[in-house]
Symmetry: C2
Subunit: 329 residues, 2 copies
């Protein structure tokens, strides 16, 4: 049926902020199905900040990839019959052929399909595991999360609120700040571009911060270290402020000595650390979504050709919640 | 018998490197002994880099203090009769009066008296606990320790060697570097003032560093982060390169993003974290000293009046091993 797919390739290694010319759409031939293989049509593509880091190490000319939700159009696998919805690692593709074992079937009745790229998927597991496992967050503790309007940060704050925490978030516009408080129940939020992070932390949590969920690096990490309580924890999920560094990288925090007398732990992690907990996470998150305890937003771009723009917008504050690209079936 | 003591006071808050004029020797009256009190004559005073940090927060005119070994001259306590050797927190003093409960009796047969200020005392427990507890060091792992000629760093390297580790140390002179290898059995050592830390780590431990015991901060922390293995640990004991920062503090490492994909933990600590393990530590360390497995050096200044010079010399590389001041009894 489909003899070829549209696939974005890396045209050149991005310098600083990625540009549309860094990406090239190519027509790629699809091989006929072999035993245990399926043809999948993608329905939702994920674009994520972590992809920027990966592009440093990919050879120009390589196809791009990442999480995607699709539907099986043709199947030579008994495990994944035609019509099955699947999670794959083939974002930036319109269609693809793969072995059934590389794909995860999705239950559209447990949660909406696109949510498997966000709150039920990688960003959700990142937030849940980073806060509760790496960050060892305890009920009632004070939390500061940066990039709190992003897919991960927003969930981190909501999960801490469900544990009775005092939650402070930062974001890059006054609209986002207002939404964090009104729509997501954050105790306090501020615009990191116009406010003084340390002053905001001090006024909202006079006794200090127990956990800082780190998404950005730079001045906010410095403020968090200064205002951290003894035995504070800083799970390092990302440092988006540093991803597009050209040449000389941005200096790190000048006050790492704060860690010594306050016994502070900083700990980097990626989502693979929590793979063994995925089932437990999905059960809990699906219940929270159904009860309305967890809310989430998606910013949806339309059509495969908008994928580079959707990706670039991640670095310009152009998304609220999970950034997705929706393809016409 | 003694109506007064000689006590160093902070004359003014040090700016940058401490100077002799920052300290002032005063004659202080000693109160007559009350029940449970003892009069102690100090025999050995400790000066340590951590005291520099504390001076930021002390009011000028305050008496200085820190670990010291002394002998009871007069006693109204049955627990500490005349002649008992004691560990106190009253460095920078010639004599003092204190309640017996504030003092720890020392066994001069278990280990030499001055060693209770070094290898058997705070620096020893710091090295042992920082490496084995905070750093979770496992037998055979590769270790990098900065300030490896210092009282703590030197022990860290030796303890790791006793666990079968590959040990790399840095120091500030070629003589010290040579001694680390010849006298202390380090596998590799380099002069951080003339060598490139990253190149040294790469050549000595091509597969990476499991634990970096952090004493200095700055460029060596950056090199360690870059060359760290997955799941590496960085116990942060001190950052002596930053202690004398004036005005604008030195920027931190530019590559904290290394922590993310390598699941690296940085964790600050001070020695009080290991108080509950002190007995276990002392038993093990005394055995290592007696068997000759652990070697140590002391740099000894003579006379109370040399205390400021001994302290200042800590920041000029003027010591090998533990820095002490010996008082005439």
């Amino acid at each position: 049926m489909f003899k070829s797919a549209q696939v974005y390739h890396l045209a050149r290694t991005p310098q600083g902020l990625p540009k549309t010319e860094d990406f090239e759409l190519r027509e790629v031939a699809l091989n006929p199905l072999q035993t245990d293989e399926v043809l999948v049509q993608n329905l939702y593509l994920s674009v994520d900040p972590y992809m920027r880091g990966r592009m440093r190490f990919m050879a120009p000319g390589s196809p791009l990839f990442g999480a995607a939700v699709g539907q099986v159009l043709d199947s030579k696998s008994a495990a994944l019959p035609e019509g099955t919805f699947v999670l794959s690692g083939r974002s930036w593709h319109s269609h693809f052929v793969d072995n059934a074992e590389a794909l995860t079937p999705l239950d559209p009745n447990l949660a909406p399909l696109p949510s498997y790229l966000g709150v039920m998927g990688m960003p959700g597991l990142t937030a849940w595991g980073g806060l509760l496992i790496t960050g060892e967050y305890q009920s009632g503790e004070s939390l500061f999360v940066s990039a709190a309007s992003g897919a991960v940060g927003n969930l981190v704050g909501q999960i801490a609120k469900l544990q009775g925490g005092h939650v402070i978030g930062s974001a890059g516009s006054d609209d986002k700040v207002e939404s964090l408080i009104k729509d997501y129940g954050f105790d306090h939020a501020f615009n990191y571009k116009t406010a003084n992070a340390l002053a905001e932390l001090r006024s909202s949590a006079p006794e200090g911060i127990d956990v800082y969920f780190e998404n950005v690096g730079g001045a906010q990490l410095e403020a968090a270290l200064t205002h951290m309580r003894p035995y504070g924890r800083i799970p390092i999920c990302g440092m988006i402020a540093h991803y597009n560094d050209d040449g000389e990288p941005t200096p790190g925090p000048r006050n790492l000595t704060e860690t010594i007398y306050k016994f502070i732990t900083l700990k980097g992690f990626v989502v693979s650390a929590f793979e063994s907990e995925r089932k437990k996470f999905q059960t809990q998150m699906a219940a929270w979504i159904q009860s309305g305890d967890i809310r989430y937003e998606e910013t949806v771009y339309e059509g495969l050709e908008s994928t580079p723009d959707a990706f670039i917008a991640l670095f310009n504050g152009g998304n609220k919640g999970k950034m997705l690209v929706k393809l016409e079936p």
